[in-house]
C-alpha cells in the first residue's frame, strides 16, 4: 500500500492520484476539504473517475467469480443429479473444494437444486463436519476421544490454548493456524494423538506442544 501523499494544494497532479487505493482517496479528499474548506473541481472529478474505474474492475471480478461458482456448482450437481438425497454428498464435494461452504456457493446451490437456502443451512449447521468459515492455512487438531482424554488430552488442549491464545474451534487472528478438537480419529493405540496439518502424531506430551506450534508458525512465516 502506498502511503498517503501529502496534498500539495488544489493543483495536485493526476499522476499522484493514479496508484492510490480507495481508502486513501477518500482520506485525501477529506484532507483537502479540511485544508481548503472545499474540494477543487479538478481533483474531485479525477477522484470520481478513478473510483469508477476501480468499481468497474471489481464488478468484472465479481462477475467472473459468480460464473466460476455457477460452473463449479453445476459440475457438482450434475455428478449427483439423478441421486435421491444428494444434498449431503454435494456439500461434501463443495467442502472438499473450498475447505468450507461459502455462502455464495450455498446460495447458488439452492438455486441449482431448487432447494430452499434455509434447508441447506439446516443441514450444514446440523453436522459438525461442515464449516461455514474458511479454515486457517494450517491446522492443529487435538483428538479428544475417550482414550486420548484418559491419557491427558485435556492438558494438551490447555497447552495449545495457552500457546496460540485461542480456544478450540477458532483460528488465529492472522488466519494462519486453526485449532480444533475432534471426537476420535481412530488412533486410540497411540493416545493421546494430535493431527498437525494432516499428519498424525501419537503419544504427544504437553512439552511437545510448543515445538509443534513453533513449527507451524515458522511455516507461516515462510509463506508470508
Amino acid at each position: 500500500m502506498k502511503t498517503i501523499p501529502a496534498p500539495h494544494g488544489p493543483d495536485a497532479s493526476a499522476a499522484d492520484l493514479k496508484n492510490i487505493d480507495e481508502v486513501s482517496l477518500i482520506e485525501l479528499l477529506e484532507k483537502v476539504e479540511q485544508k481548503h474548506g472545499f474540494i477543487p473541481r479538478d481533483i474531485s472529478d479525477e477522484v470520481a473517475r478513478l473510483m469508477e474505474v476501480k468499481l468497474e474492475r471489481l464488478r468484472r471480478i465479481q462477475g467472473k467469480l459468480d460464473s466460476t461458482i455457477r460452473r463449479d456448482v453445476q459440475q457438482h450437481v450434475s455428478h449427483w443429479r439423478n441421486e435421491e438425497g444428494n444434498l449431503i454428498m454435494i456439500l461434501h464435494a463443495i467442502q472438499n473444494q473450498h475447505g468450507y461452504i461459502p455462502r455464495e456457493v450455498a446460495m447458488e446451490l439452492s438455486r441449482e437444486l431448487g432447494v430452499k437456502l434455509a434447508r441447506i443451512y439446516e443441514v450444514i449447521t446440523f453436522y459438525h463436519y461442515f464449516k461455514l468459515v474458511p479454515p486457517g492455512a494450517h491446522s492443529l487438531t487435538v483428538c479428544n476421544g475417550t482414550a486420548c482424554y484418559l491419557k491427558g488430552s485435556g492438558d494438551l488442549i490447555n497447552e495449545v490454548r495457552a500457546q496460540l491464545g485461542i480456544a478450540e474451534g477458532q483460528t488465529t487472528a492472522d488466519r494462519q493456524i486453526h485449532f480444533d478438537t475432534v471426537r476420535c480419529i481412530g488412533c486410540c493405540g497411540m493416545a493421546p494423538a494430535m493431527v498437525v496439518d494432516g499428519k498424525t502424531c501419537g503419544h504427544v506430551k504437553t512439552s511437545d506442544i510448543p515445538g509443534q506450534v513453533a513449527v507451524l508458525k515458522a511455516k507461516k512465516e515462510k509463506v508470508a
Binding site: T146, I185, M190
Partner: protein
C-alpha cells in the same frame, strides 16, 4: 473386464492361489499410516533393490496390534513367520539383510506368535525371550545372555539365535521363552532352567511339561479372519487366495433366501452394533414386507470415541463386508445397498469405494450377478460428524440428505425405512460375519459363545492399558481375561479401577465385577451395554465424576435437540455434575440426578437420549462415594482433586498457565 461367472468362482475355490514363497506384508491402516507405515513401506521398497533374493512386498490392513504400529509381517524361506512391531524406515535395510540374508530376527521388535504350540515338531532355530514381570524387560537381557552362553557352550550358537522380543503375548508370568518355529512357550523361566531348556528341548526335542504354557489363546478370529492377511485394495487377492465371494456363490446357487435366513437363525447371530437384535429376524421382517424396492444399509458411522473396530474392518477387509451385504440383500430381496461411513475415515471410504468399483468391473455388482439373475448395486454415503446418525432412523434421514433427527419407532425401518421402503440396517461387524456363517455353517458359529450370545465379538481395548489393540474373543470371555490376559493389564503396573464399555451410551464396570462373562445380557444387568465394542480401561487416578462428565458432555453436544428430555435433561444433568465437580454440589443433588436420568431414559425419543444417563448412573452406582466426597469436601476438595488430576498425566511439569475460557464454555 469380462464379468465373472459361477464357473470362475468354482475354479478359484478348487485351486486357490498359493502364497508367494517369500513376502513382507506392511499393515497400512489409518493407525499404521499415522505411525509411519507408509514411510516403512517406501523404505522397504527402496531397500529391496539391494536385496539379492526376490520377495513380494504386500500392502494389507491391520491385524489389530495397535500398540505396535507400524507392524509388518515377514515370511522367508527357512524362517518362522513373524510380526515385527514399531518399525522405522531406518530399520528397513537391516530387516532385509538380517532376516532374509543372515536368517536372523531383529532384537526388540518381534511380536511373539499367539499360535502357541504344545509339541516340538521342528528343530529350534530361534529363541524368543522376554521378561513379562512387573518391571518388564529388566531381566530380558540377562536371559538372552544366559541362553547365548549356554548355547555357545553346547556348540549351538550358530544354529539357534536368541532374540529379545517386543511383546510375548503373555503377561505377568516371569521370564517367558518361545521356541520357534514350533511356538512352544515356557513361562516363569528361572536361571537354572536355562541349561535344562537347551539340553532337553533344543537338543533333545522334548517339551518341558512343568514350564509349558498350555492355556490356549483366548482370541478367536472370525470377523478379523482376513485382517492383515489380504490386500484390501485387491479384489483378485480376496477372490483367489481366501475364497472370497464363495459364500455369495453358495447363497445364490444352492440356497433360497429362506434358507439363508434359516442358516442365520441357526447361528443365532445378533446385531453387533450394540442393541443385539437377532439378525435373521431383522432380515425376515424386511423380507416379509411387500414392497417394490428394499434397501440394505451398512452402518459404518462409528461415532463412539475410543472405538475403531469398524474402521479397522472396513479398511482391512472391505470385500468381506461387501459380500456380507450382498448376501443380506439376496436374503431379503433388496436390490440397492448403502455404505454409510464417517467422513472422518477417509481411508475406509477410499477402500470401500475401490472394492465397489472392482466388484462392479468383475460383474459382482450390477445386473444378473454371476449369471444368477440377482441384481444388486451399492453406493457410499458419507456421514458428516453426527453421533446421533448411528441411530437407525437418524441414519436414514441422513442418507436421504436431511438433518439426522431420529423419528419415533414404530414404524421400524424394516417396515418403512429409506424413502419409505423396507430397510435393514446392519453393523459392519455383523455383515463381516455373514459370509463366514454361510461357508462354515450356523452351527459352527453358534458353537462359540454363551447360551444367549453366540459367536465372537471384536473389542477395541484402549485407555490405560498396556497393549491397546483389537481383540476378538468368544462371547462369555470375562472382562478380566480380555484386559489382563490378552492386553497385558494396566499401563505402568497401576491398579485397575474400572472398565468402560459401550462408549457414551454405556457404563463403567468396577474392578470387583470384572469377572463377569461378556454378553449382551450380563453387561446390561451391570448397567452398561455391549455397544459397538469400545472398551476403555481406567486406573485408580481417573476420577469417575470427571469421566461421567466427559461422556455426558459428549451426549449433550451430540443431542439433535428434537425431543425435550434429551435436549433439556442432558443439559441440566451436565450443570449438576459440573456443580458437583467444582465442589458446589448439595446433598440433594444425587436424588436430582436420579430423577433427571429416569426422565431421560423413559421419555427420550431415541437411543441417544435413553442411554445418555448410563455413564452417570453407573458411576453413581459403583463409585457413589466419589460423588459424596466432592459434595462433602466442598470447593477445597475439588481444587485438590483437580490439581492431583492435572499433575498426573505423562509427567507434565509445566505450571498451569491461565487459560482463556472458550466461548462455548463461558455460555454454558
Amino acid at each position: 473386464m469380462k464379468p465373472l461367472t459361477r464357473q470362475d468362482l468354482a475354479q478359484f475355490a478348487a485351486a486357490p492361489a498359493a502364497d508367494p514363497a517369500e513376502w513382507i506384508r506392511v499393515q497400512l491402516d489409518t493407525g499404521g499410516i499415522a505411525a509411519g507405515a507408509e514411510t516403512v513401506y517406501a523404505a522397504l521398497e527402496q531397500a529391496r533393490a539391494a536385496q539379492p533374493r526376490p520377495f513380494t512386498l504386500l500392502r494389507t490392513g491391520s491385524v489389530g496390534y495397535s500398540f505396535a504400529d507400524p507392524v509388518v509381517e515377514v515370511q522367508a524361506a527357512g524362517m518362522p513367520r513373524v510380526h515385527y512391531g514399531c518399525l522405522t524406515p531406518e530399520l528397513a535395510p537391516r530387516l532385509l539383510s538380517e532376516h532374509f540374508g543372515a536368517h536372523r530376527l531383529l532384537d526388540d521388535h518381534v511380536i511373539a506368535t499367539r499360535r502357541r504350540g504344545l509339541k516340538l515338531d521342528a528343530p529350534v532355530t530361534h529363541l524368543l525371550v522376554g521378561d513379562t514381570g512387573a518391571a518388564a524387560s529388566s531381566k530380558t537381557e540377562f536371559f538372552q545372555f544366559s541362553f547365548q552362553e549356554e548355547l555357545k557352550r553346547r556348540g549351538l550358537a550358530d544354529r539357534v539365535q536368541v532374540v529379545r522380543a517386543f511383546d510375548m503375548g503373555i503377561y505377568d508370568e516371569g521370564a517367558v521363552v518361545q521356541l520357534l518355529p514350533s511356538g512352544v512357550t515356557y513361562t516363569n523361566v528361572l536361571a537354572p532352567d536355562v541349561a535344562r531348556i537347551v539340553t532337553d528341548s533344543i537338543l533333545g526335542g522334548r517339551v518341558l511339561d512343568d514350564l509349558l504354557w498350555k492355556t490356549p489363546d483366548k482370541q478367536v478370529r472370525i470377523v478379523l479372519r482376513h485382517c492383515g492377511q489380504v490386500d484390501p485394495d485387491s479384489a483378485d487377492d480376496y477372490l483367489r487366495r481366501v475364497s472370497g465371494y464363495q459364500a455369495l456363490a453358495k447363497a445364490l446357487f444352492t440356497l433360497t433366501p429362506e434358507q439363508v435366513i434359516a442358516e442365520l437363525k441357526v447361528s443365532a447371530l445378533r446385531g453387533r452394533g450394540g442393541a443385539g437384535f437377532p439378525t435373521w429376524m431383522k432380515w425376515q421382517l424386511t423380507r416379509a414386507q411387500p414392497a417394490r424396492q428394499r434397501y440394505v444399509i451398512c452402518n459404518g458411522d462409528e461415532g463412539d470415541p475410543g472405538a475403531f473396530m469398524d474402521r479397522s474392518v472396513l479398511e482391512s477387509d472391505p470385500h468381506t463386508v461387501l459380500e456380507g451385504m450382498m448376501i443380506a440383500a439376496y436374503a431379503m430381496g433388496a436390490s440397492q445397498g448403502y455404505f454409510y461411513i464417517r467422513a472422518e475415515y477417509p481411508k475406509a471410504v477410499e477402500r470401500i469405494q475401490r472394492a465397489l468399483d472392482q466388484a462392479r468391473e468383475r460383474g459382482l455388482l450390477g445386473k444378473n450377478i454371476l449369471g444368477s439373475g440377482f441384481n444388486f448395486d451399492a453406493k457410499i454415503r458419507l456421514g458428516a460428524g453426527a453421533f446421533v446418525c448411528g441411530e437407525e432412523t437418524a441414519l436414514i434421514a441422513s442418507i436421504e440428505g436431511r438433518r439426522g433427527s431420529p423419528s419415533p419407532r414404530p414404524p421400524y425401518p424394516s417396515v418403512r425405512g429409506l424413502w419409505g421402503m423396507p430397510t435393514a440396517i446392519n453393523n459392519v461387524e455383523t455383515l463381516a460375519i455373514v459370509p463366514a456363517i454361510l461357508l462354515q455353517g450356523g452351527a459352527w458359529f453358534a458353537s462359540h459363545g454363551t447360551d444367549t450370545s453366540k459367536g465372537t465379538k471384536v473389542f477395541a481395548v484402549t485407555g490405560k492399558v498396556r497393549n491397546a489393540q483389537l481383540v476378538e474373543v468368544p462371547m462369555g470371555t470375562t472382562l478380566r481375561e480380555i484386559v489382563f490376559d490378552v492386553c497385558g493389564g494396566v499401563l505402568d503396573g497401576k491398579d485397575i479401577k474400572a472398565v468402560q464399555t459401550g462408549g457414551p451410551s454405556g457404563g463403567v464396570i468396577p474392578n470387583p465385577l470384572l469377572d463377569t462373562p461378556v454378553s449382551y445380557e450380563t453387561l446390561q444387568q451391570l448397567g452398561s451395554i455391549m455397544g459397538s465394542g469400545g472398551m476403555l480401561v481406567m486406573d485408580q487416578s481417573d476420577s469417575m465424576v470427571e469421566v461421567a462428565k466427559f461422556y455426558l458432555r459428549f451426549c449433550v453436544d451430540e443431542s439433535c435437540g428434537k425431543c425435550a428430555p434429551c435436549r433439556i435433561g442432558g443439559y441440566q444433568l451436565l450443570q449438576v455434575l459440573d456443580r458437583i465437580s467444582r465442589g458446589r454440589g448439595a446433598a440433594s443433588d444425587i436424588a436430582l440426578i436420579h430423577r433427571v436420568c429416569h426422565a431421560m431414559q423413559k421419555a427420550s425419543l431415541c437411543g441417544l437420549g435413553q442411554t445418555a444417563p448410563n455413564p452417570v448412573l453407573s458411576t453413581l452406582r459403583y463409585f457413589g462415594e466419589e460423588y459424596q466426597a466432592f459434595i462433602e469436601g466442598g470447593p477445597s476438595y475439588a481444587r485438590k482433586a483437580g490439581k492431583a488430576a492435572a499433575a498426573k498425566p505423562t509427567g507434565a511439569t509445566t505450571p498451569p498457565i491461565p487459560v482463556p475460557v472458550p466461548a462455548k464454555e463461558a455460555s454454558s
